[in-house]
Symmetry: C2
Subunit: 349 residues, 2 copies
């Protein structure tokens, strides 16, 4: 089952807002084993929205349209979806009543154009609104004789997330006829180039390509190192994990201790955890060590959630602020961080 | 001149990375008066990248393709662009030399597959790489007898930004034959619904629609209030500003003091600036005022850049943490904040 995503809003194209909605939706679709192969941003223009929807529906089984359901003149998703369905919009009194009640409860006057949100393409099912005034819509479409579906949900993130979870994902599961999950495992590495890792992992990649699954991809992430992402699709999370485990073991065998962590680990969280385990975080040492407090603090501007050892870093930052980076304020980081530190400096030369 | 954007990477579709690149590119294109009407994310799949490029080029004059220029097996932008151009890839020894030198300077071995980055579609112009190993590409394409262009630039943000500024935008300007700018002015409002604002501004919108420019759009931004965005395109920033000024004046005349700020202003920065001006930020008062320190601090988790009055908020948060929200820790916020505070609570009932 392929479900693509269309995000509506000129502000997205102008870069005034970053489209985080489709990333969230993509993540949720993957977690539910649904493929999403194309995600498009288009502005508040009726003809273009309609054209994009027709284009995406030519290949996808379903489309989630996010945004353009507000009450104003530039909210055009309802009209575009109705055009794709080749039906007209009809006033739904039950929606109008809910909207009127929302304003009444807040003792605020309701502008007439709020009733635009009570317009529904003929044949669509309503996703009741609980957090905003805009209901969502489940809109059946027939494309070249094949039954497909368009989901229209609001662009306001908490309304979008609510309707995605409450109505869209369950409906997609029902249509897909079975459940599946896509699970990723990311190995965090440091000290080897993307091409070097690729070359060393060539035999693994060749065997995965032959098998078709799991897949392996590289993500060059600058400061955060090189990520090796393994992804598997299976009926259950457990089955996907069982597919990933032997591949992860092979990758670790080849890449060795250049793997410093997994998934959401960061160099900082791993180093600080090592410091904590070794009870070194409050000791000072005089001999050369690779990472200084300032660099650690610079990387660690956002305190890692897992970290319980931050006081050392804070103390060192204050010392460094006043007097540069005196040797007395260096942190001892242990052998794994030592390698990371060397590679880090080599990479910035 | 219309320049659309295609971001390449399965990780974008899976929501593992939010596509901030195309938002940045969209912002830059707008600032240079270039239209961007479609922005697409597609995964690391040769056939789909090629298909998306052909689809976008049917309508756009130019396409910026971001990502997929790395050295590994899943970096497929070069191949896809060559297919769209209907040419083959050729090895460019000057690029190979630069890459070899980059590795030599760092005393690191170069994997053979780095030479994939020295492959260039026949007829493309190279954008020399200065920050990473991947060069960018300026690729002429003829679509139905019309000269168009594909720019391929890396997905690593600092490499993308460098090549966009250094090569892509100047080339687009040269092709467009003239310069223009798109300028937006955002009025920040609080206390009126989107539909209510829309209704009150109907006469302004009607006259703008008749004239075609500037345009007016509403952005419902939850906690941050309702934004009214005015956008004008003109030969110079000054000319665009002169188009916007009378429209802004009309909007302010109608909306009144529900406009609490402009552009990057926040409720917090405006309130705190008022407090600073009135020299009230260190006084405590005993009578009822609308905003308490806790709420102000909750909104103000990220300290506004403009704010010079934060000590009051910090002090109040500490007081509130220990003993709830005693009346003695309330802040006096002045009449404008008073209205904002009432509307805020009404909206959350």
């Amino acid at each position: 089952m392929r479900c693509d995503v269309v995000a509506i809003g000129t502000e997205l194209l102008l870069g005034q807002i970053v489209d985080t909605n489709s990333a969230y939706i993509g993540e949720q679709l993957a977690a539910h084993g649904l493929d999403s192969l194309l995600q498009v941003k288009v502005g508040d223009n009726l003809a273009r929205i309609e054209s994009v929807l027709r284009g995406v529906l030519a290949d996808a089984d379903a489309v989630i349209v996010c945004g353009g359901l507000g009450p104003t003149h530039d909210d055009l998703t309802r009209e575009a979806v109705a055009a794709v369905m080749r039906v007209s919009l009809v006033h739904d009194e039950s929606i109008a009543t809910v909207i009127r009640d929302m304003f009444a409860v807040r003792s605020r006057p309701m502008a007439d154009n709020n009733l635009r949100q009570a317009l529904v393409p003929c044949g669509a099912t309503i996703i009741p609104q609980t957090r905003g005034t805009a209901p969502g819509l489940i809109c059946p479409v027939v494309v070249d004789g094949v039954d497909k579906v368009v989901y229209a949900i609001p662009g306001v993130p908490h309304e979008m997330k609510d309707m995605l979870e409450r109505a869209v994902l369950p409906d997609l599961h029902r249509r897909a006829g079975r459940t599946a999950v896509i699970v990723s495992r990311t190995l965090r590495t440091w000290g080897e180039s993307e091409s070097g890792l690729n070359q060393r992992l060539d035999p693994v990649i060749a065997s995965l390509d032959a098998a078709g699954s799991p897949t392996l991809a590289f993500l060059a992430s600058g400061w955060e190192g090189m990520k090796v992402r393994l992804t598997a699709k299976a009926d259950t999370a457990g089955a996907a994990a069982r597919m990933l485990a032997p591949v992860e073991a092979r990758v670790r065998e080849i890449v060795g201790d250049q793997v410093f962590g997994v998934d959401d680990d960061t160099m900082e969280s791993v180093v600080l955890e090592l410091l904590r385990q070794r009870d070194h975080q409050r000791r000072r040492c005089q001999r050369g060590v690779p990472w200084r407090g300032g660099e650690l603090c610079e990387r660690g501007e956002v305190r890692p959630a897992r970290c319980r050892s931050w006081s050392g870093g804070e103390r060192t930052r204050r010392a460094a602020d006043g007097r540069g980076r005196p040797s007395g304020s260096r942190l001892s980081c242990g052998p794994r961080a030592h390698r990371g530190g060397r590679a880090h400096r080599a990479g910035r030369r």
